[in-house]
Amino acid sequence: MGEAVTTSATRTDAVRNIAVSVRRVSMAYPAVLAVDDVSFELAKGSFLTILGPSGSGKTTLLQMIAGFQAPTSGEIVIAGQPVQSVPAYQRSIGMVFQRLALFPHLTVAENVAFPLRMRRFDARTIPGRVERYLDLVRLPGLGNRRIQQLSGGQQQRVAIARALVFEPDLLLLDEPLASLDRKLREEMQLEFRRIQRELSVTTINVTHDQREALIMSDEIIVMDRGRIQQMDRPQRTYRQPANRFVAGFIGLTAFLPVEVRSVREGVARLRIGGAELQGTVAGDDTLLPGGAAEAALRAEQVRVATTGAGLRNLDTVLEGRVEDVIFEGERIVYEVLVDGFNEHRVRAFDHDPALHAEYPIGAHVFVGWNVRDLLVFPA
């Protein structure tokens, strides 16, 4: 690796306002390739979520950025500096850990002051700075408490303050919300987002929770088996999944095996059992007429009605029978057996819980959706 290459890369990053670039990074363990040739760039001040199931390599990637593991190959550049020879304690990275990893033998204020003392900040400025950051995370005046005296949510806030108090170039979140109950988790998601925007600190969050990814992020990377499946804004990740994996991982998706009849201008004519359908070809995939394919349809993009007239504004309207009803409180999921679809079911959310009504099992219903929401992937 030539010195000149690194220098020019550094300069380019600074000019282009890039906070982190990961370049062709791989991590090989004896048995598995945990991270497989991953590259991405992250703009300063943005919030990136790496989303994936367990074993997708997302945590390994985060550990390498933090400096706890060295990549087998590739380069990581933070704030214009290649960091492979910089140990974790010299990187300007704040991290909130899965189990928070607060220091139980120190008070709240001592926990928050810890990075300032380790990084030799001017001792006279430390108390004021600690107070400012405790205010930021809305724990004013709790500095003298012991960690064990705080609630789960308050401990989260201490962990955030401790990770941010030394103004790091980068904030890493290693699934810190995974262990919280749902209400607190949703509260903390918005809180992380508020603080991140207030300080505009570049943030990389790791999670397996698709909802969290969609709520919090400017950008989402979906990972599976060590590879990036898609990197996009939340809306695009949701509406235009790049492949079958992404389509299945985000949303409540039903997959229907179909046969491709013809493809024209991105719209495919399909056959399933005795029925004919139209769908949108997803991503850059090419579909061959006569070949097998899979059509992905999200429950929330399917409407149910007792008459076809109720679904007039949708492209595709079919008849079927309610096979199963799953009551989830704020919504009801129907599994509908569409006439002519053989045994393949379509899932649909009821979007109007205000009516207090539900279709019983066996009811004859109409289901409808738009062609742009039925995404076709090669099988």
Partner: protein, 315 residues
């Protein structure tokens, strides 16, 4: 189809019978007292020793009559006076206490990294190896182990023979204070490691990583995070090593060669050589009192809860 009458193994049926019997002997309404009942055997075994201690206390108050070689009938504190004033016993006492303090300090310093690597290593082979090396001395026994050092460190021993090929020595490596301390440290390391390992296991790896990401190199991570969090284990290890060293018999006897006796050796001499049970008893009681006082002071200084026995009151 299996026959269920034969499906339950014999041991199950035996326990069923025992349970039925226990139910008759100890009805369910006594259940709240069951833990105390189960405490009883251990209390009895420990309590028996108290009877011996009372006997020792009694005999410490009788002076040996040199003429008849029997304990005198009258009570006196003369044995304690001798034990506290005779320069022989004062030297032995000082030597034992100083030795116990030095051995405790050195053992903790040596055992801490051993326990740390044992707990933290990701290699199962290394962990097994470290455990085997740790437990091996327990199978050998103290006297044999001490004798092993004679073979290595003696004037004609392996070390001196090797050195003589280089034209150095021989050095007198045995039968001095340092040999005794060396032997004691070697004996105590496994105990200290076994006390430290659970305390270190209780510190999540993530906590150390957190310190690192916050800007602490490994020395500062140890100084500000690992060592403070390992304090319960360190206090426990220090107390165990200190008391075991203070009362040790075999190592000073074998590696000290009679010239570097500890208190236990002096007590042995009084009981079994000069047959002055009274003086031996007085020395024994003084050892118990001084040792307990030292441990008590240490616990007061660091807080009793640090042993990790008091639940969550202290942390």
């Amino acid at each position: 189809m299996r026959h269920y009458s034969t499906a339950y193994p014999l041991s199950w049926r035996i326990f069923d019978a025992v349970e039925a019997l226990a139910k008759r002997v100890w009805p369910a309404r006594f259940a709240p007292w069951l833990p105390y009942l189960l405490l009883l055997p251990a209390l009895l075994v420990t309590g028996l020793l108290v009877i011996g201690l009372i006997e020792i206390a009694d005999s410490s108050l009788h002076v040996l009559d040199k003429a008849t070689f029997r304990s005198s009938e009258s009570y006196s504190l003369e044995n304690f006076e001798r034990a506290l004033t005779a320069s022989l016993f004062r030297n032995i006492g000082l030597r034992s206490f100083l030795g116990a303090i030095l051995v405790t300090a050195v053992t903790l310093v040596l055992a801490f990294p051993y326990a740390y690597v044992l707990v933290r290593t990701e290699s199962p082979i290394l962990r097994k190896l470290l455990l085997i090396v740790l437990f091996l001395p327990f199978f050998i026994g103290q006297v044999v182990r001490a004798y092993g050092w004679l073979i290595i460190l003696g004037n004609e021993g392996i070390l001196n023979t090797s050195l003589s090929f280089l034209g150095i020595g021989p050095f007198r490596l045995l039968f001095n204070y340092w040999a005794v301390l060396f032997g004691l440290v070697q004996t105590m390391i496994p105990f200290a490691v076994l006390m430290l390992a659970p305390a270190l296991t209780a510190i999540p790896k993530e906590t150390e990583r957190a310190a690192e990401s916050l800007g602490a190199n490994w020395i500062r991570t140890f100084q500000y995070v690992v060592i403070p969090l390992a304090r319960p284990g360190m206090v426990g290890a220090a107390i165990v090593v200190f008391t075991l060293t203070l009362t040790d018999f075999a190592i000073p006897a074998v590696l000290g060669g009679g010239s570097n006796d500890f208190i236990a050796n002096a007590i042995y001499d009084q009981f079994f050589r000069t047959s002055d049970a009274g003086l031996g008893s007085a020395l024994t009681l003084l050892l118990i009192i001084a040792g307990s006082a030292a441990v008590g002071v240490a616990l007061l200084l660091v807080g009793i809860g640090t042993l990790g026995l008091a639940g969550h009151d202290d942390d």
